[in-house]
């Protein structure tokens, strides 16, 4: 590994914190998207149809 000097821990923790947070956000965004899609599919199966093309208020 690269030698990052006596304060290497600070560097690693910083980058790790950013990486973990960004990864967490991305995972949440993808999971949330899937949930919304599955909710929409469930509603469509129940027979609730969108009124025309104005499905969003």
């Amino acid at each position: 590994m690269i030698d990052l000097g006596p304060h290497a821990a600070f560097i690693w923790v910083s980058y790790a914190a950013v990486a973990v947070t960004v990864a967490g956000l991305i995972v949440w965004l993808i999971a949330d998207g899937r949930k919304q899609h599955s909710d929409l599919d469930a509603l469509e199966r129940q027979g609730v149809r969108r009124r025309g093309s104005v499905g969003v208020r």
């Binding site: 304060h7 910083s14 914190a17 509603l43």
Partner: protein, 258 residues
Amino acid sequence: MPHMQTLTQRLANPTRFMELSARLLPWISAASAILLAYGLYLAFIDSPADYQQGETVRIMYIHVPCAWLSMMVYGVIAVSSFGLLVFRHPLADVSAKAAAPLGAAFTFLALLTGSLWGKPMWGTYWVWDARLTSVLILFFLYLGLIALRSALEDEGAAAKLTAILALVGVTILPIIKFSVDWWNTLHQPSTDFTSTVDPSMRLPLLVMAAAFTLLFFAMHLKAMRNEILRRRVKALRTQAVAGRDRLAAHATTQGAAE
């Protein structure tokens, strides 16, 4: 200018937005990932250590992008809020709502990385210098936006009230920055730790900043898509309940008539 107008007009329709964002998202994500990889390479392998700070200067390559994002995203929220209140753009609230938690996250990361950057340099995990203090107050502004929105049940009112708060915040922000700088010079001699950035460090910084910006736009688009879908679900559920209520009412009146 007219080109930008037609772009926002084209995107105003949520369905069009969903189509366009679906096509854009993979490209923006890929570009962000590539720049991120290049930036990390530059940050760790192709740039020197600082003669004063040693290797810890490399924290700057994620701290500054996070700090930059914390301000840029507030700008996005402010522009969206303006778009809602003045132009009643249909997607303005979706944009503002989606951006707030992302902005708050990056602001928090700016504070965290700033703290970790400072500890080896000054010996403490927190310093009340002008920059960190300003970012801390910005964090409070984000929290205020998120808290206000979650406290309001009426979505329409929540949209407009958070927009007003965002515009109040963005108006006061320069004054806050000015007052914090003033306060800082009163109490401390200038200890600006990034007063000059060596040219050899500018490229990694720019690349990382660009990478983070693209990363935010990708996440923002995705979050907006999720929010649009969420609102569709809610609208359909309301429709379904209303339909069932109408049927039930019809059935009981029929039963009573017989």
